[in-house]
Symmetry: C2
Subunit: 456 residues, 2 copies
């Protein structure tokens, strides 16, 4: 697995050397002076994912993560460290189980989607109706799924820019509601993922206003392959499905916010974000513990080079995975504070390959500085729309902020995304260091820019 | 994942082309004339793992597999197809669950080992005693594990010849009994595996005569990493462990035996074997559905080249995983029939890289023919002890048989071995074809050799 070289030796007792140190010793071209990956980024993501572990939105574990993060940020020298609570509609996982019964009887690896409807502990048993695509399900007549469990297949493949998550992700986001609207008892989908492991990909789904949710799960890709082969061979399949998780209102969540004050507190600040919650199956290493590690380490490195002109604020958003609650809460609470620019790291731990901004022509000179600083790290500049991100999206929209997207390589992101396999060993310290270096160079420029940067 | 190029497209409805056909169209050097991987080997392992799925020793699924196999062998033109029943001590999986409680509270991916003792549904909670190696556990004082759950770590790494499975595998085979002998309440081990997925490796353990089994499980490698990091950081850990599976006596199992009769039935036959049972987590594609596919396809290809002099018998052994019951039953039932040579395929689906025989000097000429035939397939000849294999071991021993080991590359075998990830998509049709070619060339020589081949 070249893309996710595992670092098990790091994990062994007696081998306490932080992996990033190996790199700094080798002094790659991007090893800018500063606190360093070994000192901040690696321990941050290692400790968060090991000592706290999974951090489901609205769970006690997410609350522990907030306390842990606030303490870590204070230890690292951040000012104004605050936990900012809010409540959410949460999903609490129950028993997830699926098996073919009758023909080709066998267990299947399944996970419930966030906000799934629930079966009871005995589960439900029904014929499976196979749809090769979401479009095929859309074409099914009204009422035609009565008494059936829909299965929605698709053909997602890896892309460097992650663009498959839009169209293929709609199978997860829209498929369940669509199946329910046609009378389905329940729905299972092929995992929205590009790996070949028995680790199904969860993620949130949504239901049209007023619709009663039906049980909705995702099968691991090898299990979806089984179904596809059996259907292709002419088998009529029957599924026994048990998904007992519950949706609950008023669950406690919150953001963690902290500042590195700049030399001129009167200037609008630079906001850098990640999200602190994770899906519950893995430990949220690449999604998105590593994002918090990257933005935190880079902010500290910029400060280590000399206090920057503008304040850099870090936002560890809560409850991103269930629909961006943390980003919305941040914009609501801090919408009257002046922001200069916003950025987010939430696409894994692979290297930054592309920079995109939404700068207006008046800020061409700043963009030129960024491109010149990032190019030696193997990063190309491209035109196009910026992503921003779920956690900074609301404040970007409210204040029409400039954005710098440091786009990470997504060729392997959807191998791990929302699976039990999202664990620390999947982070390559060399690629983590390249991320921190790219963020450091970017923040060093924008946080020291005296003139306003303007969005087009 | 270069080693296990997945072939999802094969699985999709409408893409019914057997993957091997792609190769035969390309006519690699080893595409000997005959039935071909696309016609026999790929469909055999695909259908077995898809239509039957997991085939735990002594289970109803294993019985379905015997019926399936007998029917397939008849369809393929084998003679004397027989199901030969026997009974075994079986293991029936229950609930497998583990979680750290208190410090670093989080769920861990665990699987019970075969013949594990059982907890009740509520599980047990106890402090974890960490042992970095089996030797460290051996050095623990008698009684020192009273009231504790032992955790045994190790440092298995991949080897081409699979030789790590001996020493590191002893953690699974001997560790539980050793921990029990020192008073442990239960034991968990780092999976005997070389991957980095949340898929723990099961496998059989054993208990010294007269000892009451204690609950014994394996953690996935990323979970073992968590424990190792926490212990290295000084944390005292508490584990809640639930393993409710049961050992039962008198469970039905059996072998499937079938012949391709040779031109001279008076000559001793050539025996080729695989095992039909699999662990229950995966679908037993590489362990060992593919072995049955390889030996069956090769035997048919030899026949397609002209009826061989000697009968070729295929043995699909039952209940290999729980201790070689099928091989023992075969030797007992067929020990008076004359065998010329025995071979087994049970080390996955990667390419054959090495041939080893136990031929006496009198059979040097035959060995020379084998080496000359196999060398163009990238296979080297080495001296050394032969493995034979669990399913043919008893008859080899009883009749002092010559053996040809066609050793497969094991660099990635223990990524998948005994995990949920042992599924069809992990088989590379090109490597499967190389296996069938190597077996075909080997069988063509030994089944047409008139003189006895003698073992040293």
């Amino acid at each position: 697995m070249p893309a996710f070289a595992p670092f098990r030796s790091v994990a062994r007792p007696g081998v306490l050397l932080a992996a990033g140190a190996l790199l700094l010793a080798g002094a790659p071209v991007w090893a800018d002076a500063g606190a360093g990956t070994a000192d901040v980024a690696w321990p941050l993501v290692s400790d968060l994912t090991t000592q706290v572990g999974p951090r489901l939105a609205g769970s006690p574990a997410e609350a522990r993560a907030r306390d842990w993060a606030a303490q870590r940020l204070r230890t690292l020298g951040f000012a104004h460290v605050a936990i900012e609570p809010f409540t959410i509609r949460a999903y609490r996982r129950g028993t997830d189980r699926a098996e073919l019964v009758g023909t080709a009887a066998q267990p299947l690896a399944v996970v419930a989607l966030g906000y799934s409807g629930a079966t009871d502990e005995a589960g439900i048993t029904a014929p499976l109706a196979y749809f090769p695509t979401l479009a095929a399900l859309e074409a099914a007549p009204a009422g035609s799924l009565a008494g059936k469990i829909a299965f929605i297949d698709h053909a997602m493949a890896p892309t460097q820019d992650g663009s498959g998550y839009g169209p293929y992700g709609s199978v997860r986001r829209k498929g369940p509601g669509l199946a329910a609207s046609k009378g389905a008892l329940a729905v299972v989908i092929r995992s929205v993922g590009t790996d070949h492991h028995r680790n199904p990909h969860t993620g949130v789904t949504s239901w049209p206003q007023g619709m009663t949710p039906i049980p909705a799960g995702a099968l691991a890709n090898p299990d979806a392959d089984q179904i596809a082969r059996l259907v292709a061979g002419g088998s009529a399949l029957t599924l026994h499905l048990t998904l007992t998780g519950q949706t609950v209102d008023g669950a406690p969540s919150g953001n963690v916010v902290a500042d590195l004050p700049g030399r001129d507190p009167s200037l609008p600040m630079v906001l850098v974000a990640c999200h602190l919650d994770s899906w519950d199956q893995g430990t949220g290493a690449i999604d998105d513990g590593v994002g918090c590690a990257i933005v935190t380490a880079a902010a500290l490195r910029v400060q280590a080079q000399g206090k920057p002109l503008r304040t850099i604020r870090v936002l560890y958003a809560g409850s991103e995975e269930l629909g961006g609650f943390g980003g919305a809460a941040y914009a609501q609470r801090h919408g009257k504070e002046a922001h200069a620019l916003a950025m987010e790291s939430d696409f894994g731990a692979d290297r930054v390959w592309k920079v995109v901004t939404n700068f207006a022509p008046a800020s061409d000179a700043v963009k030129g500085q960024l491109v010149a600083a990032l190019n030696p790290l193997g990063i190309v500049s491209q035109e196009g729309e910026v992503e921003g991100g779920t956690d900074v999206g609301p404040i970007i929209k409210a204040q029409h902020l400039p954005v710098v997207d440091l786009a990470q390589d997504g060729m392997h992101y959807f191998d791990l995304h929302h699976t039990p396999d999202d664990t620390l060993d999947k982070i390559d310290p060399a690629r983590l260091e390249q991320n921190v270096a790219a963020w450091t160079r970017t923040l060093a420029i924008v946080a020291n820019e005296k003139a306003p940067i303007t969005a087009r």
